[in-house]
């Protein structure tokens, strides 16, 4: 990251504070892992109250970390305006007018008195994992207090512990914050680019600012999907337990989260549609991510339809099986962005 940006933003402070939070999360989730192992092994419940306290503390830390991320984004908004030298604004605006005249969705002209600012939602790049896992943690806490079965609780906690481990060792949002974003804007804030270079950088990053970072859909499309992912994870765990035992209370919890997940998934996907038209134009249909999302939605719809007949023994197990397939479809859909090319790719 450029030294210019280091001076403008409290990146070091953000990383240090976040590092402490994440380490505390890891310690607490280690405690929960021990409880998980004991409860999975023993026939009788153990340390249930202590585990509840640990789970509540993990949630509190998750929320604190999320607020910390929001604060950092506020710093980006306040301290990182996309400024240009005054004599460039006329040229930049003439270029924007040419682009706007050939496009259905135009970009606002550059106003030197009020330069554009980044309004980045707290769920992009590695932060999306943080948000997703935080949603799951909140749901796990609610389910923990609804269902007393200690083995069910243990599996619920095991998933949370794995997610915290993935955050700590794999996708830490605090250690190297927003690497893609900063790699894009660093040249503009680097040491002395020429006027033409500045204009070139601006014309490269401004459309992405308008259609991606500052897009209003960014505040709805991704978070709704991540809430849905959290719900599907709960549904998966209940489905696994439905295969083991025909317990109505477990099924009821699973169905409650299936409804929430389906609602969020459908609305999230629908809200991605006008955004895609605006940002990518018309030729994105049958993009791999769209295909996998459609597939996941179809599986989820099937689950909700078969669930109507779950009072039949065969349909009970088929519904549970579909709940598991739905979770696998979700993982597959998420990983699609890493393996398949297309508009959604992380490659």
């Amino acid at each position: 990251m450029g030294s210019g940006l280091q001076g403008l933003l409290p990146i070091k402070l953000f990383s240090q504070g976040g590092g402490i939070l994440l380490a505390a999360l890891l310690v607490l989730s280690s405690g929960i892992t021990v409880s998980t192992c004991v409860n999975l092994y023993c026939r009788k419940p153990a340390w249930q109250e202590a585990t509840g306290v640990l789970l509540a503390s993990i949630n509190l830390l998750f929320i604190l970390g999320f607020l910390w991320i929001c604060w950092f984004h506020w710093q980006i908004y306040a301290k990182l305006p996309l400024e240009l030298p005054e004599n460039l604004s006329g040229w930049v605006n003439s270029q924007l007018e040419i682009i706007n005249s050939n496009s259905d969705y135009g970009m606002p002209l550059y106003n030197p008195a009020d330069p554009p600012r980044y309004r980045i939602p707290p769920w992009i790049e590695n932060e999306k994992y943080y948000f997703w896992f935080m949603c799951y943690a909140l749901m796990a806490l609610l389910v923990h207090f609804r269902l007393q079965a200690h083995r069910f609780r243990a599996v619920l906690h095991l998933f949370l512990a794995v997610q915290v481990a993935v955050l700590f060792w794999g996708v830490d949002p605090f250690n190297r914050p927003l690497p893609q974003f900063f790699s894009e804007i660093t040249p503009l804030y680097g040491a002395g680019p020429s006027l033409m270079q500045q204009a070139g950088y601006f014309m490269r990053i401004y459309p992405k600012m308008i259609f991606y970072y500052n897009a209003e859909y960014m505040w709805f499309h991704p978070p709704l999907l991540f809430i849905s992912y959290g719900s599907i994870t709960i549904m998966f765990i209940t489905s696994v337990f439905m295969l083991i035992k025909r317990d109505l209370e477990t099924e009821k919890i699973g169905y409650g989260y299936a409804k929430l997940g389906f609602f969020m998934l459908t609305v999230g996907m629908l809200l991605g549609y006008p955004w895609a038209l605006k940002a990518w134009g018309p030729n994105w249909w049958w993009d791999p991510k769209i295909c996998s999302s459609l597939m996941m939605w179809a599986v989820f719809s099937t689950y909700l339809h078969t669930r109507l007949y779950a009072n039949k023994k065969s349909m009970w197990y088929f519904t549970a099986f579909l709940g598991i397939i739905c979770f696998l479809a979700m993982i597959f859909t998420f990983l699609t962005s890493f393996y398949f090319p297309g508009e959604h790719t992380f490659q």
């Binding site: 609305v267 295909c291 099937t302 009072n311 393996y339």
Partner: protein, 207 residues
């Protein structure tokens, strides 16, 4: 009554099969996209790919809408009449497809479903007891009708893809109907019960 229930059950199974087929086509589309490197092709070739995939999926969309077309009058008619209506719809779809192509056939079944679903929605809204729903409860029925209407309009909207104003307007109608439908279907009954201090309705339980 038993026959009616098994009719519902087989419709659900058929829907499951069609949705599974659409899932498999989606997976095929993904791998084809990757291995042929569609993203690096010129726009006309990309459009050819999209048209080809549309053609592959169209029969299954027709099946899905046909099933929906059967599901909708199922709520209105006794089984004997339902069989007749299904046979008529099926014949019309096949004849239209044979004479005017798959697109016209899809358009026909969508239009028929839209009319029927609108009738169901109005009847559900009026609290009609002549409707046959698997689930009980005013809000659940109303919500379910709205969700299915939203799905029909969404697919119908794809016909207006090139007319941006109509396309986006219909899209927002779809989105509104789906959101309201899911809210009513999934949560309204619980909210009403909570306010009235009643136990959750039986439609929430599978027993």
């Amino acid at each position: 009554m038993k026959l009616k229930s098994s009719y519902d059950f087989y419709l659900i199974l058929a829907t499951t099969l069609v949705l599974s087929a659409i899932s498999l086509i989606s997976i095929y589309g993904m791998f084809y996209f990757k291995f042929v490197q569609i993203q690096q092709m010129a726009p006309p070739l990309k459009i050819m790919f999209m048209n080809r995939m549309n053609a592959i999926v169209a029969p299954f969309i027709i099946c899905l809408i046909l099933l929906l077309g059967i599901c909708v009058p199922k709520r209105l008619l006794p089984t004997a009449w339902l069989n007749r209506i299904t046979a008529i719809l099926l014949t019309c779809v096949v004849v239209t497809g044979f004479l005017y192509g798959v697109k016209a056939s899809l358009f026909f079944i969508l239009a028929a479903s839209l009319v029927l679903q609108s009738i169901v929605l109005v009847m559900a809204l009026a609290g009609s007891r002549n409707l046959h729903f698997h689930k009980k409860g005013y809000w659940v029925r109303f919500g379910s009708s709205l969700i299915h209407l939203g799905l029909i309009i969404f697919i119908l909207d794809l016909f207006f893809y090139e007319n941006k104003t109509v396309h986006l307007l219909l899209f927002w109608v779809t989105t509104g109907a789906s959101i309201l439908g899911m809210l009513f279907c999934f949560y309204a009954e619980s909210v009403v019960n909570l306010i009235a201090g009643r136990q959750p309705a039986s439609n929430e339980s599978i027993t």
